[in-house]
């Protein structure tokens, strides 16, 4: 083969690209030369010897973030949960206290009573149970609505998918609080929904919907639905549709093919979506406070009452810790299961 003739005039784009490449090469050479200078090279070797290089630096950023804003606050809350309440600033006893003049007179104020108190007083257990129930039912409802929604979007024509997804995310562009307040306007006795039903003649007096459990469920499902739809859509959209054709070819009716192929293959998305809805729903405070009944026993509400009404920080911290444990343990279990599932697939 003859070498291809060099064109007389380089197209503009190519010329720009070439200039960019030249610049990149120069930059690389300069940086390379700099990196080879003795002091910098010495520093790099010393860091590398301690396991520090560019890659660990990149990974360190999120870990540092989690350490500072998750683990440290958690440690503080954990510490408070073991102390005792007092009327002071801050409203709890320090864990370590100097009782006397000497350095050795350290008094340890560990008080495991707060966590025990949670078990003794049935209020907390009932609040936990009720929160779990509300979250579970809401998650199930969100799955029932979210799965068909995600499925429909994933199977829509490609040019429509973006628009439909946009419509799912669109409510996020208004404030969360505003959207919950909007539901009050819809659900109250002389609100939008009751007026419409009265006008249609379906009912002859308003139905009490606001400040019921129904309103709580509605609010939670409405607010967390996108978190269910997103992971489901992601997994349904990348599913290989020839698998369904293969199933049909082997005598499988479409509905059965959904049950034995699509559903099992979308399980990671189902689990991810359920966790994204369930976890925040358990600790949800705003929605039950605004839409739910006044006496609703949700753990988020109990937490609020302990902190701000009773000013019992240690008990409130104990509630928070218990809530965390209640959620983290099942999540870790789920993730183990999911990992094992993923090992079974490509």
């Amino acid at each position: 083969m003859k070498p291809a003739g060099r064109p007389e005039e380089m197209p503009r784009a190519t010329a720009e690209q070439a200039a960019g490449e030249r610049f990149g090469r120069a930059l690389r050479t300069t940086l390379g030369a700099l990196a080879r200078r003795p002091p910098i090279r010495w520093l790099r070797t010393q860091l590398a010897r301690r396991g520090l290089n560019g890659r660990t630096a990149v990974i360190a950023v999120p870990y540092l973030w989690l350490l500072l804003f998750f683990l440290v606050p958690f440690a503080i809350v954990l510490k408070i949960s073991f102390s005792e309440a007092q009327i002071a600033m801050p409203p709890y006893q320090p864990l370590l206290q100097w009782a006397g003049e000497r350095l050795a007179d350290i008094r340890l104020n560990v008080n495991p009573g707060n966590l025990l108190y949670l078990v003794e007083d049935s209020l907390y257990l009932r609040a936990f149970a009720n929160s779990l129930q509300v979250a579970a039912i809401s998650t199930l409802a969100a799955l029932m609505i979210g799965y068909p929604l995600a499925y429909a979007i994933a199977r829509a024509e490609p040019r429509w998918r973006g628009i439909l997804l946009m419509m799912v995310i669109l409510p996020f562009w208004t404030s969360f609080l505003l959207r919950v307040y909007a539901w009050i306007g819809i659900l109250k006795n002389n609100g939008l929904l009751n007026n419409l039903l009265l006008w249609l003649g379906v009912i002859d007096q308003p139905i009490v919907m606001l400040q019921t459990d129904f309103a709580t469920y509605l609010g939670i499902v409405y607010c967390y639905l996108p978190f269910m739809v997103m992971p489901l859509y992601a997994i349904l959209e990348k599913m290989d549709l020839t698998l369904l054709e293969a199933a049909e070819d082997l005598g499988c009716r479409p509905l059965r093919a959904f049950a034995s192929i699509t559903l099992p293959l979308s399980m990671p998305g189902v689990i991810a979506g359920c966790m994204l809805v369930f976890i925040p729903a358990v600790g949800e405070y705003v929605i039950p406070a605004l839409l739910g009944p006044a006496d609703s026993l949700m753990i988020g509400k109990v937490l609020w009452t302990e902190f701000f009404n009773n000013r019992d920080w240690p008990v409130a911290s104990a509630v928070a810790i218990a809530l965390l444990l209640l959620l983290v343990v099942p999540i870790m279990y789920f993730q183990r299961v999911q990992e094992r599932e993923n090992e079974g697939q490509t």
């Binding site: 020839t242 054709e245 082997l250 005598g251 490509t346």
Partner: protein, 383 residues
């Protein structure tokens, strides 16, 4: 390039028997997607126990035709009969047809056993029957002991065999194979080709194979249907397709060929040869009669590279030879390819088997050579 026992097995000659009832009848089938016509008025008969290949380049409509047989696409017009039954409106899950997909489409969350047994499970067969038949199928494709594995734990060749077992377990009347060997490497592909042919003869099921690989088509099939732009251009045994291409497209698509445009005004000499004058060759071309009817309009004389002989001395004949200069020599081991530039500027391709270890003729680059061929070698093809 030998076709697999195409001449011996009587069942493979069903298309020559006017009384034979075709097993699959495709009648004037057209499929269009919007303005694009993927399959254009195709009529085709496929017989029982035949291994039929649909051969063509990408986008020629071969896969669409296969998908219409499977029931994934409905013809825009025309009808398809399988074993006398009109397949119009019958969904894939009710057709007596199974398909092996190009990607294999194995269910990733199921084990090999579950994959293979899926078709029977859909028929609500008993667990023990399914287990027995799955065992038989795995034995057939020589995958005993792999039943508990997941598809991702298998090699490409093993996945291909699982897909085959899964498609065969329901004992379909017709097995459709979409590029069955495309994902395998060359050695495995050659090996699997013969396995497929053996399996087909063993089971007696009709196979329809879609492929773009002419060598694969020639090895596998009893007959080949060459497709181009949604139409079937020629149907015939591998030998017919290669030796008597119906038109220029088929001649060029199957194997390589040297084409010389000829004068349409053909006359016969005293020996009964058709005589042609080709501007690109200095001497006339004499074609033995029987090498296809004399076509009308623009015609080409087609000569396969292996049907030309190279020599250093001029042949003692008046016709069917030319001369040129050797431009390239490619040594391929079993044969050598010579590119010879004619005086008219045209480059032609000649192959010569390396029968002897040392070439005593010693043809090298830039050497003046003579090319001659038998009067039965050229074929006349039209546009």
């Amino acid at each position: 390039m030998a076709s697999s026992a195409a001449d011996s097995a009587s069942v493979r000659q069903a298309w020559n028997d006017p009384t034979a009832e075709p097993y699959i009848r495709i009648e004037g089938v057209t499929k269009s997607f919007g303005d694009f016509v993927a399959v254009d008025d195709v009529s085709l008969n496929i017989f029982k126990s035949e291994l039929f290949c649909l051969l063509g380049g990408s986008g020629c409509g071969k896969t669409t035709l296969l998908r219409m047989l499977a029931g994934f696409e409905e013809p825009s017009s025309g009808r398809i009969f399988i074993d006398g039954l009109d397949m119009c409106g019958i969904p894939p899950y009710q057709r007596p047809v199974n398909m092996m997909f190009q990607s294999y489409a194995l269910f990733p969350h199921m084990s090999v056993e579950q994959n293979v047994g899926f078709g029977l499970k859909m028929e609500h067969r008993s667990r023990s029957e399914i287990a027995g038949r799955v065992g038989q199928m795995l034995e057939l494709v020589r995958l005993e002991g792999f039943g508990k594995r997941k598809p991702h734990q298998l090699s490409g060749g093993q996945r291909q065999r699982v897909a085959l077992a899964r498609a065969l377990i329901k004992q379909p009347k017709l097995l459709l194979l979409d590029e069955p060997l495309a994902a395998l490497d060359k050695k495995l592909r050659e090996h699997t080709q013969f396995e497929l042919v053996n399996l087909q003869e063993q089971l007696g099921i009709s196979f329809v194979v879609v492929t773009h690989d002419q060598e694969e088509a020639m090895t596998l099939s009893s007959r080949i249907g060459v497709m181009d732009h949604g139409r079937i251009v020629q149907v015939g045994t591998p030998k017919e397709i290669y030796e008597f291409p119906g038109n220029r497209f088929v001649a060029e698509f199957i194997g390589s060929v040297n084409l010389f445009e000829g004068q349409a005004a053909a006359e016969q000499d005293e020996d009964g040869h058709l005589c042609f004058a080709c501007p690109e060759l200095e001497r006339p071309v004499h074609v033995a009669r029987g090498a296809g009817p004399a076509p009308q309009g623009r015609i080409w004389v087609a000569i396969r590279p292996e049907k030309m002989q190279l020599s250093l001395a001029p042949p003692p004949a008046a016709a069917n030879w030319t001369q040129g200069r050797v431009k390239e020599i490619a040594y391929l081991g079993d044969l050598s390819v010579f590119l010879v530039a004619l005086q008219s500027g045209k480059t032609i391709r000649v192959t010569r088997p390396n029968v002897m270890r040392h070439d005593d003729q010693g043809i090298t680059w830039e050497q003046q050579v003579y090319l001659h061929w038998h009067d039965s070698s050229p074929v006349l093809v039209s546009e």
